[in-house]
């Protein structure tokens, strides 16, 4: 290939319709958005007026009603709820105590999907394993009849990469324990804090009749896991009693709430931004994912106000239901809009708290990376470093991504995210309003550029 041809191909790869004027306007809107507290006020409203909003419950329905009213009051078009059915799990009593060599209470919380121990609970000897793999490879005779503990520590990272490793024990422990005849399963919380909170979260989701149900399963706080290890080191036997009485209802309702800013020139072309509306039941769902709700609603509103005649393409904001219990809303959306996914230009979800954005990633075909990276030009000017093409777009983007929808990731600093994640401590006061506003500003620039460009990313 001649140097001239190489240059030509490079220029073609760079070809994109985002003009310096468009970029300057995006930067201006971002700087205005960073001065606004709209995003924070939305999170405050959701976490106060609704609070915890577990998938399939009355509280999640209240959250949908809140979202519809909020979208309408902000001037969004085509506001609608799209419901779907799902089985519902709700927490009951949760209580645990060391019974021997001496009584001590433990801080525990049931894992989402766990079966009940019954009101009298179960009691048995503790068998501790340093990792999920150690449990999986242990002979059944050292597990049978025991309460097992998987005491694997999660690694703290800025990008959250420690989570998927650590969450494996939450997803699997109850089923492996069941295969080997255990009474119940405990895990060291999937979290990075040394505060005495147990972190809940979903087990592998049981969807088919006849599938194994797992043993009763709970997370214990990090200080409790450490305490158990100290006692085990000094005593040959440690016994526990565990009471968990969650309930499961086969048929409940969840739903996605959708609102739009209709496109002026290409209304069928969709720029989709999302967050999830449901939360775990222990906190008020501020960082997970009230923050994301505030960020995407406020960013879309900033673009709406700046363009009274609408952006070129349609901006669609989707607040997903039932993310926490297995991305049920994300799947329902992908199924409902299967015929329109080819028109989804680009999609992304904000679901990693309110930490500042430090990287703009893409998740597109290789020859579109450069043109898709142009959507992050203003984000980069706000302090985000060069990104990779490994963006997932967020949990609710899974099925869209698999269907070929291009995604981007406005990656947040998640250093502290798993200190709070899925605990009672996930409350409004943990959000820094200025960090949240930086997110709103970054998203404003991204969606302004995406909705006013003529580029394709697939």
């Amino acid at each position: 290939m001649t140097p001239a041809l190489t240059l030509l191909l490079s220029l073609q790869a760079l070809a994109q319709t985002i003009s310096p004027q468009l970029e300057a306007r995006a930067a201006l809107l971002a700087s205005q958005a960073e001065q606004s507290n709209l995003g924070y006020s939305i999170v405050e409203s959701l976490t106060t007026e609704v609070g915890p909003r577990l998938a399939g419950t009355e509280a999640e329905e209240r959250a949908r009603n809140w979202a519809v009213a909020k979208f309408e009051s902000m001037g969004f078009a085509n506001v609608r709820v799209e419901t779907f059915a799902l089985p519902v799990w709700e927490r009951g009593v949760e209580w645990a105590q060391i019974t021997a060599p001496y009584p001590q209470p433990l801080v525990v919380t049931a894992l989402g999907g766990s079966i009940s121990t019954g009101p009298d609970g179960v009691e048995g000897e503790l068998a501790s394993f340093p990792s999920l793999n150690a449990l999986a490879t242990a002979p059944a005779e050292i597990v049978k009849g025991k309460i097992i503990l998987v005491d694997e520590v999660m690694t703290r990272t800025q990008d959250g990469s420690g989570y998927s490793v650590a969450a494996a024990k939450r997803r699997q422990a109850a089923y492996i324990a069941e295969e080997k005849g255990a009474l119940a399963a405990l895990i060291r919380s999937v979290g990075t804090s040394s505060h005495r909170f147990a972190h809940t979260g979903q087990m592998r989701r049981v969807t088919e009749v006849g599938e194994p149900q797992g043993v009763p399963a709970a997370a214990i706080s990090a200080p409790d896991a450490d305490q158990l290890q100290r006692i085990l080191a000094a005593h040959s036997s440690l016994r526990l009693r565990l009471v968990l009485t969650p309930e499961r209802r086969p048929a409940g309702v969840s739903g996605n709430v959708i609102a739009e800013i209709p496109g002026r020139e290409a209304p069928d072309e969709i720029v989709l931004i999302g967050a999830h509306l449901d939360s775990w039941d222990l906190g008020t769902g501020a960082v997970d994912d009230g923050a994301g709700v505030g960020i995407v609603m406020a960013a879309a509103k900033a673009v709406m106000d700046a363009m009274p005649n609408g952006p070129r393409r349609t901006i669609r904001v989707v607040l997903f239901g039932a993310e926490e219990v297995g991305v049920v809303g994300g799947k329902a959306y992908a199924e409902a809009y299967a015929n329109e996914l080819a028109n989804h230009i680009v999609a992304s979800e904000s679901d990693f708290g309110a930490g500042r954005i430090w990287r703009f990633n893409t998740g597109v075909v290789e020859d579109k990376v450069q043109v898709a990276q142009a959507l992050g030009s203003v984000v980069r000017s706000m302090g985000a470093g060069p990104g990779s093409n490994a963006a997932t777009g967020g949990p609710d983007m899974k099925y869209l991504r698999e269907a070929g929808v291009p995604v981007v990731g406005l990656e947040q600093n998640g250093w502290d995210y798993f200190d709070l994640h899925h605990t009672p401590n996930d409350t409004l006061d943990k959000i820094d309003p200025q960090d949240l506003a930086q997110n709103v500003a970054a998203w404003t620039s991204f969606i302004y550029l995406a909705a006013n460009s003529e580029d394709s990313y697939r």
Copy 2:
């Protein structure tokens, strides 16, 4: 007065028997103690092998047994338990929920001494007051039939001075609420953390038959108090349900554990150092007051090991029972030893966590301040600033101080202490072993000097 006479009087005031050699030896022992992890290992043992140890319970008895065995294994003399009777209060169910304008759970914990609501709880409208004084001066008609909240914020200070101000609401709210006909009383936790823990603690102690018992009373976490204020600001009415089922037993047993290093030349002269053995039931009592137990036991052991023939005076270590519920052990000690208090040369308790010592205070008659300050000479060389003569000596020293026993205060940095105080989060991992060792070193130097001096501080 002539200059010469002034100089003479100053020299007399400074006169003290602590020689440069004694001080150098104290400094050497302190530097050795700072390299040891004995103090931390004692806290680890107490918080692991006993855990929570509420006054008057089986767990506190286990703590006494632990202390006797530990003192004996370390070589202390005259190890003994001195029991005393007290009424016992134990926590039951505790649960609270907003019922209107919409349901939300709250994090609460009963205050020590609270009566029960009964298993069905109480429900009523919330009436919020910004301070205890606002409640005290409110007309009864706006309190009657309500659940009241005293939402007074505690000030964070290094010296803990915010505590006595903030704790007034914990001591008084239930009784003032009762006088005005309230259903129940809530207080914003006496604490400085924004984590979602409620801080327990004792109400004003009811000691006489026929005294008012107060309404059922609980603390709520700081984020919950903030949430209630946001909801109150937006809605004309907020209703709550509160369930607390603590139980009271009229007759229980607590006790002080005492151990000594007998004095060689003046065995009747007592240098008393203490900490309290009981803890609240929610955490494992690491900073309150496992740390103090570790500090004074390790410091005394360091002096014992350095002086095989014993110090000049007797060093007496007292681990007090039932401090948390009203300094019951401190009072029992003062009564039991009333005839010997004139021989108590100086006394002090370590009960403010494991933060580094930053000040050496005295609590002695004015003309003994300078000679008593000499006991802190090595502590000052470790980074403690000039002190005042306002030392209390610690909570269990109250009755000794009132009886004229000189006290000193090795004052700790308590900036974070009330983040953890009286919560489930008071666990071993919150102690910095190096900071704890600095405390042990400081106490080692103080008791070495006090026990080998011939000075009097009264």
